[in-house]
């Protein structure tokens, strides 16, 4: 115990030196914690932007639906899939899709009619709340329609406008119905902006003369479940139907994330080097300047082994306190950013729209056990090792020479 008490006293004998060295450990540790939390959070945010709007983490379609989007390739037993997803802790939205023509007074355009269950969409996905004007669909079928932003613009439709829908129904007849615009979506990405005409599933069934058709079940746990777990749960309930994760559904966004991932990995290595360098250099210099002191100790009969031991204990203590404070500061900064985020919209004007998906310009950090534990550990080891080298050197020196050292 006396060894530790002595080391503790020694640390504060030259408090300025100790504070400078400790400052290096604190700053390096906290910056590393903060940046790793930020990188993890950024990737999470991007996945969230991609999946939470309307795509979901996993989708189920009938085997060949995605190849030709035929009206007749419907999902088998959607209710079982929805139940299984809910049991696994996720939410599932059944959707029907069909092509058709929408017109508003003299203007007309092609559109994709989404038949949705408004209550489920509101609960599970952000699209329903992402309106530029008006309201989302009512809970019961009421001939309301929500249009994508560009579609509304090209139809010159406003909230309250009358829309005529013309489609080829499932039985081959012409489906022709009148709708009223209840809301217009904010821009969320090209595909939805240009094409989406969202109506209640009940109205969809009447328009296409087809009861109970489900072409897609979109499932989201809003990031709570890992992709593998969710995919597994859905697969076992969907019996040889086409189950795809968002990575397969929007490969481009997934590719972009892959690139971002690699860049962030490289960034982490660069940061690790910079932080390690800071601790190493400061500690090297701090121990080196004590050469004279070690000479005196040696002249007084302290063995080289004792000197090295004492220096290591001092460095370990210093590193420990520094790392602990680094954890505190890094975690607080990370936590603050996790809650409030960094708004980058000033840096990236014009919005971030990749692969028809809008990215959130506010970045959040995400603290995980690894981001809090690994950086201080690296910094601590670095701190002790960098003290050891000059200490060993000094302990071996001839005391006379060491004392003459300036």
């Amino acid at each position: 115990m006396t060894v530790f008490r002595q080391a503790w006293r020694n640390l504060w004998r030259n408090s300025r030196r100790t504070s400078i060295t400790m400052g290096a450990v604190v700053v390096s540790t906290s910056v590393m914690i903060f940046t790793s939390a930020l990188t993890i959070g950024m990737v999470d945010d991007m996945i969230g932007s991609i999946t939470r709007t309307s795509i979901g983490e996993v989708q189920v379609h009938s085997a060949k639906y995605l190849a030709d989007r035929s009206l007749y390739r419907t999902v088998n037993r959607p209710a079982t899939i929805i139940l299984a997803s809910q049991k696994a802790g996720a939410q599932a939205a059944p959707r029907s899709y069909g092509f058709g023509l929408v017109s508003c007074r003299m203007k007309s355009a092609g559109a994709m009619f989404w038949g949705v269950d408004p209550e489920t969409e509101k609960k599970a996905f952000d699209l329903a709340a992402n309106l530029a004007g008006g309201k989302y669909l009512a809970a019961r079928p009421a001939r309301g329609i929500v249009l994508g932003s560009r579609l509304a613009k090209s139809l010159e439709a406003k909230v309250g406008s009358e829309i005529v829908a013309l489609v080829q129904a499932a039985d081959g007849s012409l489906g022709n119905e009148m709708f009223r615009v209840t809301g217009i979506l904010a821009s969320v990405g090209d595909a939805v902006d240009r094409n989406a005409a969202i109506i209640h599933r009940g109205d969809w069934a009447e328009l296409f003369a087809a009861e109970g058709m489900v072409h897609e079940v979109a499932i989201t746990s809003r990031g709570k479940l890992s992709l593998a777990v969710l995919e597994g749960a859905v697969k076992s309930a969907s019996r040889r139907q086409d189950v795809r994760s968002w990575r397969q559904l929007v490969p481009m966004a997934s590719d972009m994330l892959g690139m971002v991932d690699v860049m962030l990995l490289i960034f982490s290595v660069v940061f690790g080097c910079a932080a390690g360098l800071g601790v190493m250099n400061t500690m090297l210099m701090a121990t080196h300047e004590r050469t004279r002191e070690f000479g005196v100790l040696k002249a007084l009969g302290t063995t080289p082994r004792q000197i090295v031991r004492d220096v290591s204990i001092e460095a370990a203590m210093l590193g420990l306190i520094g790392a602990a404070m680094g954890i505190l500061i890094g975690a607080v900064a990370g936590w603050y950013t996790q809650v409030h985020g960094i708004d980058t919209s000033a840096l990236a004007s014009g919005g971030l729209n990749v692969s028809g998906l809008r990215m959130d310009p506010v970045w959040h950090a995400r603290l995980t056990a690894k981001t809090v534990v690994v950086p201080p550990l690296i910094m601590w080891v670095m701190c002790v090792l960098s003290a050891l080298y000059p200490a060993v050197r000094a302990a071996r020196l001839d005391p006379v020479k060491a004392m003459a050292h300036v």
Binding site: I20, L38, M259, F271, A274, G278, M285, A286
Partner: protein, 414 residues
């Protein structure tokens, strides 16, 4: 005064090298710090140079002239006419490599196997051969030649889906500019593979003359008049010059960011990310440099005590310490720029292979990304990184220099 400054700088220079180990540690902090900043900045600059270049050259060039309403609602009946004279004037603008004309529309490619929607791009084969990356990505057959003829090059994914080979025929069906359905028989002349499913399964190229016939457009109509530049950085200037030409009146003259918003958006995302990380890294590096300089001054208290006791004025001591720091910073920043520059230059030439770090095929908006990163070193980066780190460290040296003379002589000499 000059004499004493000269003497002082000699003293400062000698004093730096009196304790070589300390100097080396301080220098290495600055050198390695600057090197790391260089690596990060150049890596960020270089990643998308190739991506942008390919996308631009395949599509509408660095600057695109088009019908003012086209981008809002792309449609084959929004085209520009009488482009001959305009092209002549654009071609002689400084920095212009060449112009290319495109006629574009939506269409359906049909065979006995099925049909897929596609982007029909009518091109001038000669211009494409010189400017676009696509002719170099032909994997079977040949690229287009001549300006007419019912021939096409299609992507490998589409060829596979529709079971098409070089020489086979297919039907391309489009709504022409009057809204009527038109079908034409067309022969596959070549198959390309750009490395992204989105392009390889969606894009077909035909001669511009054939595309005009298909969409019922007049003889010199173009959807895009693309301007390929030797140096993309001059695009805004060139766009400004073109929009002032009377021949371009009424048309939209846009830089590529507006024409390829996805690519621009990705780059914006990447840039923003880089800015944030660069800022944090520079903070870390400056802190380390500050720390080492502070420590190196601190450990010399005894020496300063002796100097002050012998009659050196505090001002002179401070000036000496500041000069020492100035030398160190100058040498460190120069060394860092050199080391970082060499490192970056090495990877700029040989590339930094990241394929071991990721398994995914990577493409943005249909343009595949190279898995070998080429960082990009420019004089601007050298200047900005060197200048900012140097001035920041000089400012930071003021504090330890000021502090050096604020010691209690009796205490430090004990």
């Amino acid at each position: 005064m000059f004499e004493s400054l000269k003497a002082l700088s000699v003293v400062a220079w000698r004093s730096i090298w009196r304790n070589r180990r300390r100097t080396i540690i301080t220098l290495s902090s600055i050198i390695l710090g600057v090197t790391l900043v260089m690596v990060l900045v150049c890596l960020g600059e270089g990643v998308y140079v190739k991506l942008v270049n390919e996308a631009i050259r395949l599509q509408g060039g660095h600057v695109t002239v088009m019908h003012a309403g086209y981008l809002d609602a792309p449609s084959a009946d929004l085209f520009i006419l009488n482009t001959g004279k305009l092209r002549g004037r654009i071609a002689i603008l400084p920095g212009v490599e060449r112009t290319k004309g495109l006629v574009m529309g939506q269409g359906l490619v049909k065979t006995a196997t099925g049909g897929v929607g596609s982007l029909v791009m009518g091109v001038e084969p000669d211009a494409e051969l010189a400017a676009s990356p696509l002719p170099g990505k032909i994997t079977a057959g040949k690229y287009l030649s001549g300006n007419g003829g019912a021939q096409a090059v299609i992507g490998s994914a589409m060829a596979e889906r529709l079971k098409l080979r070089v020489g086979s025929k297919f039907v391309v069906a489009v709504n022409d500019s009057r809204g009527e359905m038109v079908e034409e028989l067309c022969r596959v002349r070549g198959i390309f593979s750009l490395g992204s499913d989105e392009m390889d399964g969606y894009l077909i190229q035909v001669p511009a003359g054939f595309a005009r016939r298909l969409y019922g457009l007049p003889g010199d109509a173009l959807t895009y008049l693309g301007v390929v530049l030797r140096d993309g950085d001059s695009r805004h200037e060139v766009a400004r010059l073109i929009s002032r030409m009377p021949e371009a009146a009424g048309a939209a003259v846009l830089p590529w960011e507006k024409v390829l918003p996805d690519v621009a958006s990705y780059i914006r995302l990447d840039r923003t990310q880089n800015y944030v990380f660069q800022a944090i890294l520079i903070f870390l590096v400056l802190f380390t440099i500050f720390n080492t300089i502070l420590m190196s001054v601190l450990e010399r208290e005894r020496e300063f005590g002796v100097l002050l006791a012998l009659g050196t004025t505090p001002a002179r001591l401070r000036a000496q310490i500041f000069l020492e720091a100035l030398y160190l910073n100058l040498a460190g920043v120069a060394g860092g720029l050199l080391l970082g520059g060499l490192l970056v230059w090495h990877y700029q030439v040989h590339g930094f292979d990241i394929s071991s770090m990721t398994s995914a095929e990577m493409s943005i908006s249909g343009f595949s990304m190279d898995k070998v990163l080429h960082p990009r070193l420019t004089a601007g980066i050298l200047g900005i990184v060197g200048g900012s780190v140097f001035s920041a460290t000089v400012l930071l040296s003021l504090y330890p220099a000021w502090n050096s003379a604020k010691i209690k002589i009796a205490e430090v000499l004990r």
